[in-house]
Symmetry: C2
Subunit: 197 residues, 2 copies
Amino acid sequence: MGMVMTMVNYPIKKAPPAKTSVSVANRGMDLEEAINQTNEYYVSNDVAHIYKKPIPIQVVKVDYERRSAARISEAYYKVPSTTDYNGIYRGRYIDFEAKETRTKTAFPLKNMHEHQVVHLESIRRHGGIGFIIVQFTLLGKVFLLDAEHVSAFWKRGEEGRRSIALVDFETLGRQIPEGYVKRLDYLKVVDEYYFSK
Amino acid sequence: MGMVMTMVNYPIKKAPPAKTSVSVANRGMDLEEAINQTNEYYVSNDVAHIYKKPIPIQVVKVDYERRSAARISEAYYKVPSTTDYNGIYRGRYIDFEAKETRTKTAFPLKNMHEHQVVHLESIRRHGGIGFIIVQFTLLGKVFLLDAEHVSAFWKRGEEGRRSIALVDFETLGRQIPEGYVKRLDYLKVVDEYYFSK
């Protein structure tokens, strides 16, 4: 099994977010942090209202020293039931999942849960916009790929060996521009891909 | 300060969910449970894809006995940044907050956070559908009230004393029908209120 770093599942061995200097390619930047900062920019400029959903946690034990300050003393991470991000943009429902990979040639689909693929498919069918954002960390490139393509790749090949090649992201997807104010301006790609038809 | 039971904030003193018999008026039913069950019905019948967001929790300490089974040993509830529920229905973005009250004549607005009211207002402005669902537990009645009205009531009166009267829910909002298969069929009201114009 190749070592693939998924950043979205559990914040167990998360690298600290990049602070001051960011290389041109933003190598090693924390994808979640970049998306969250971009979403904050979108919200505060009233461009879109898209948020990361909290990580679902099963609380088992809570201590109440004071009623107002409950301290959770036993809890476990749960598998998310949908995708990580959703919200509204230009009147449309937006829904996506974000993943990092350290491979250089393909994104292994074992990083996705089947129910997430099914969920994104449902969103499309109901008139929403669904996609994945994948960061090839070692290449310093981030792509957006529409849910329709994700489903198609999911249905191909053997379970556990499915993947989406870098070249497929380059031809079927769009690279997301990175910057300083809008660190990962994925709505620019959404404009081009979904609103210019 | 009157005793008001809010069910959505923290699952601290939550009553066990109603199991078998439900009175005609569904008195004392757990609003969150009723909405979750209804949402499951909507999802499994592909009517809508609306989910409750997980409760945000700040994780402070995690024990790793095995890498796959992380045990959270210290964590705290955080204030949610948006509303509890969102998703897609008939191509539209849907966003709402659900609250219970045990008062009989009005819903005290101290049960809402200001940023939630602002959030629902933003959703409307961006072409989404935003509302609150309020259960008057002792009356056995549940209402849907559009975000525009919520904002208007929020702007009236003194902080800490603001409320929305039952009669306002009856005239400006819509009562949500309750049933067995769809326990709280709020999309029926959404159809009438937002899609029949």
